[in-house]
């Protein structure tokens, strides 16, 4: 880890194209966000051995970590899966976070894996949000507490996209997050593009979501661009942020007293048509929004 800088300001999720961009634009980012699962193949719980390292990815991340502070953003914990908490995976990501001196760890508030038998599971092919019910909250609270204990650093949970909203929930998702945060000390990674995606597809207004959320819980914000797929607007991380997302960000940043960073997500497959100049412009816009409310 670069010891001279904190993971605050504007960051981006690491992908294979980002290193090339940073070679020519080293000051474009304040920190990098690592998905630890890009460093290994995970054969799933119950497999022995379970993890197989990917040396090329590890070498790239080692190089980047020598230059930039890192935070971790997991995609493999599946904290909302109805099976025992995956402590082996938590230990694996905690080791990674420690190696890179990561200042915070975020995961998705949802489920990605389902059980296939005692001690075994499988990926379900996509991530789904949890129903915001009292019973789900009661079940989740001790899991989040345990995950926080094992990680030994701030744990943030991220709102996902709801392509098929759940009927008849006990509470809204922001109410669920508020109570989860109050009970466990976890923070929120607020993904504005996910809110925008829900707005485009189902008319759920982001303003109403944000108005219900305890903004003191928000430690990080994700922004991205999307794309149409048939009738659906998708969180495809496909380029610049829509202006609505940027406007939401501009209004939200000064209202989040514990905000540590704004992270831009773009998929490496869009890098060729996105281009370094457009990426630089996008990051400069985010830096301007951040710096208008934070002293360097």
């Amino acid at each position: 880890m670069n010891p001279d800088r904190a993971a605050r300001g504007v960051g981006a999720v690491i992908n294979r194209t980002l290193a090339d961009f940073l070679a020519t634009h080293p000051a474009a980012l304040d920190y990098l966000e690592l998905m630890p699962e890009m460093l290994w193949t995970d054969y799933g719980r119950g497999s022995a051995p379970r993890y197989e390292e990917m040396p090329a990815a590890r070498a790239m991340v080692d190089r980047l970590a020598a230059q930039y502070p890192l935070v971790c953003h997991g995609i493999g914990l599946s904290i909302g899966s109805a099976m025992p908490l995956d402590e082996q995976h938590l230990a694996q990501v905690a080791r990674t976070a420690e190696r890179y001196g990561a200042g915070r760890y975020s995961e998705h508030l949802g489920f990605f894996r389902v059980a296939t038998g005692p001690g075994h599971d499988r990926h379900m092919g996509l991530g789904m949000p949890l129903p915001c019910d009292e019973a789900v909250l009661d079940w989740l609270i001790p899991r989040v507490r345990r995950a926080g204990e094992m990680l030994g650093m701030p744990l943030l949970l991220e709102n996902g996209v709801r392509h098929t909203p759940y009927a008849d929930e006990d509470m809204s998702e922001p109410q669920f997050l508020n109570r989860l945060g109050a009970a466990t000390g976890c923070g929120v990674l607020l993904d504005l593009h996910n809110l925008y995606t829900d707005y485009r597809n189902n008319g759920s207004p982001p303003d109403a979501y944000i108005a219900e959320l305890d903004l003191a819980l928000v430690r990080e914000i994700h922004v991205a661009g999307g794309a149409m797929l048939g009738r659906a607007y998708t969180d495809a991380h496909a380029g610049p942020c829509p202006s609505t997302v940027t406007a939401l960000l501009r209004a939200l940043v000064p209202a989040c007293p514990r905000l540590e960073g704004i992270t831009f997500e773009f998929h490496e497959s869009v890098a060729p048509r996105f281009g370094p100049a457009a990426l630089q412009n996008e990051l400069a816009l985010l830096a301007e929004i951040w710096s208008s409310h934070h002293v360097a």
């Binding site: 995970d42 197989e52 390292e53 059980a115 092919g125 019910d133 079940w139 098929t164 909203p165 009927a167």
Partner: protein
């Protein structure tokens, strides 16, 4: 709450558009999962929602990505046969595996079995599959734990 059964049901339907169409036509199929009344209503409403089509597409895209990225020449050589072959492969291996190496290995070896059985005769296909499987091995290192 029967959250495990509900999640199993969701996984069952996102993996197969045909199952979604069947449930839309006959909601009683939801009785096959041990759901409480609210979860049953939710499942039926989810599958009937237009967004379920996108979720099924996302599932298939996520399963296709490891194959297209890891076995690009093999997929290209299959041409118009690729999609029906993927349908057969996914039907025979319903469990999603988004880890690139394992999924590409599963599909690559499944293709080699089809080639050995004389079902696939595209010129250069077997060599391409074998070479890409070898390349795949070279991209991954030793098991760490």
């Amino acid at each position: 709450m029967s959250l495990e059964a509900f999640q199993q049901a969701v996984a069952h339907y996102v993996a197969a558009p045909a199952r979604c169409l069947a449930l839309r036509a006959d909601p009683a199929l939801a009785d096959g999962f041990a759901l409480d009344a609210r979860e049953r209503r939710r499942l039926v409403a989810m599958v009937a929602h237009w967004g379920m089509s996108y979720q099924c597409t996302l599932y298939r895209a996520n399963r296709l990505t490891p194959l297209g990225r890891s076995l690009p020449r093999s997929c290209a050589l299959l041409g118009a046969d690729l999609v029906p072959l993927l349908e057969r492969f996914w039907a025979s291996a319903d469990e999603a595996e988004l880890q690139f190496k394992r999924e590409a290995q599963r599909f690559g070896h499944w293709l080699l079995e089809r080639i050995a059985a004389g079902e696939l005769r595209q010129a250069g296909l077997e060599a391409a599959v074998r070479e890409e499987l070898r390349d795949l091995e070279g991209r991954f290192g030793p098991v760490v734990q």
